[in-house]
């Protein structure tokens, strides 16, 4: 049941972090296996989702450490038009999301992790600090830098 409940959320995060579907699937699989092996260390069964997520976050870190980050051909990226000029749905929207996805992959691992947790997963800085064991000011700095970087990469977006 837990697998069914959390696999999608874990996969979405892992896929954004690793940029590779196969790696993301491996991360999710490993997260559940590690979770199973260390189930007795989960102090609060009510928060097993967060606990699994933390395992996945660490596995993503390991995954990214283990390989050189994918080069993103940003020079080939077409400028993104202003949001208000775009239709809500459709091919153009999908294209924009693809550009954002690629821009996320161009961030440093730490910046991407902080940005995704903050603005995609909707975590508070306090939650992030607890789960990543990084101070709130350090996390804010990472998120701010990520936003600055994205602003440059997606300058036509805004």
């Amino acid at each position: 049941m837990l697998v069914r409940r959390y696999k999608d959320a874990l996969y979405r995060y892992a896929e954004r972090m690793t940029g590779r579907p196969d790696d993301a699937a491996d991360v999710v699989q490993q997260a559940f296996i590690k979770g199973y092996r260390s189930l007795d260390r989960c102090r609060d069964p009510e928060r097993v989702g967060g606990w699994l997520f933390r395992i996945a976050v660490n596995l993503c870190k390991d995954q990214l450490k283990g390989r050189a980050r994918r080069e993103v051909p940003l020079e080939a990226t077409e400028p993104i038009r202003a949001t208000r000029d775009l239709p809500e749905e459709g091919a153009e929207r999908a294209e924009i999301r693809e550009e954002i996805y690629r821009a996320l992959q161009a961030l440093s691992d730490e910046q991407r992790e902080a940005f995704v947790l903050k603005h995609v997963e909707g975590w508070s800085y306090q939650e992030m600090a607890e789960k990543l064991e990084v101070s709130v000011p350090a996390l804010k700095m990472r998120v701010h830098r990520a936003r600055d970087q994205l602003q440059e990469l997606l300058e036509h977006y805004r």
Partner: protein
């Protein structure tokens, strides 16, 4: 990026506290965050859940059970055709070698006949007087609760039939679209690895074959 915008995006300022220019920028950022949430995969690929469950089941097995599994589980074996032919010829030669007084013997009944492969209807039933909806999902439906049970007379007994292939299936009931519960009438369960139990259903197929459905 100006400080007030950063503070707003960090959740430390209200939108009303921003200048009009910063407010417009904040809206653009919110749109970007929304697009970022939609970027990438919507969920895990099909088959990942089964893969994970297989791994978890393997984790639960003792070392001895794993060794037994390795020996008895079918697996593809890659053999060079030439070596395969040679091996087959050698085995064949063993059977046809003259034994004792020169009588030639051949194996009898070496072919296994598969019977009972037809899907069978399984009746699911759950007593849930307070439920608004009840459905069934399991590994046969990739855990999508596709079969909706019905309670036509409103007595709280929900039931429905599903055509399932022979084999061992895990399933659960989805009550009110939110609560997954095990079948209290199931004779067998299997741990899902995280403290919950899936109900288990074993079906022998074929015309007139029995089902161990609850």
């Amino acid at each position: 990026m100006n400080e007030s915008l950063n503070q707003y995006l960090d959740g430390e300022l209200e939108a009303e506290q921003l200048t009009p220019e910063a407010g417009a920028e904040a809206q653009a950022w919110e749109a970007l965050f929304a697009d970022a949430r939609q970027a990438g995969a919507a969920g895990a690929p099909v088959g990942l859940e089964s893969r994970i469950m297989d791994e978890l089941r393997a984790e639960r097995k003792t070392p001895v059970a794993r060794i037994v599994d390795w020996w008895v589980s079918p697996r593809p074996v890659r053999v060079r055709p030439l070596i395969g032919l040679a091996a087959a010829a050698a085995i064949g030669a063993l059977f046809f070698l003259p034994i004792g007084d020169g009588v030639v013997e051949a194996p009898v009944g070496a072919m296994t006949t598969m019977v009972g492969e037809q899907p069978v209807y399984v009746q699911f039933q759950l007593e849930a007087p307070d439920a608004a909806t009840v459905a069934v999902g399991g590994d046969f439906s990739d855990w999508e609760a596709r079969l909706e049970l019905v309670d036509p007379d409103g007595d709280g007994t929900w039931s429905g039939r599903l055509l399932l292939p022979p084999g061992v299936h895990q399933y659960m009931f989805l009550v009110n679209g939110t609560d997954w519960i095990a079948d209290p009438l199931a004779e067998q369960w299997v741990e899902d690895g995280f403290g919950n139990r899936n109900s288990v259903l074993a079906i022998t197929g074929g015309a007139g074959a029995g089902s161990l459905a609850p």
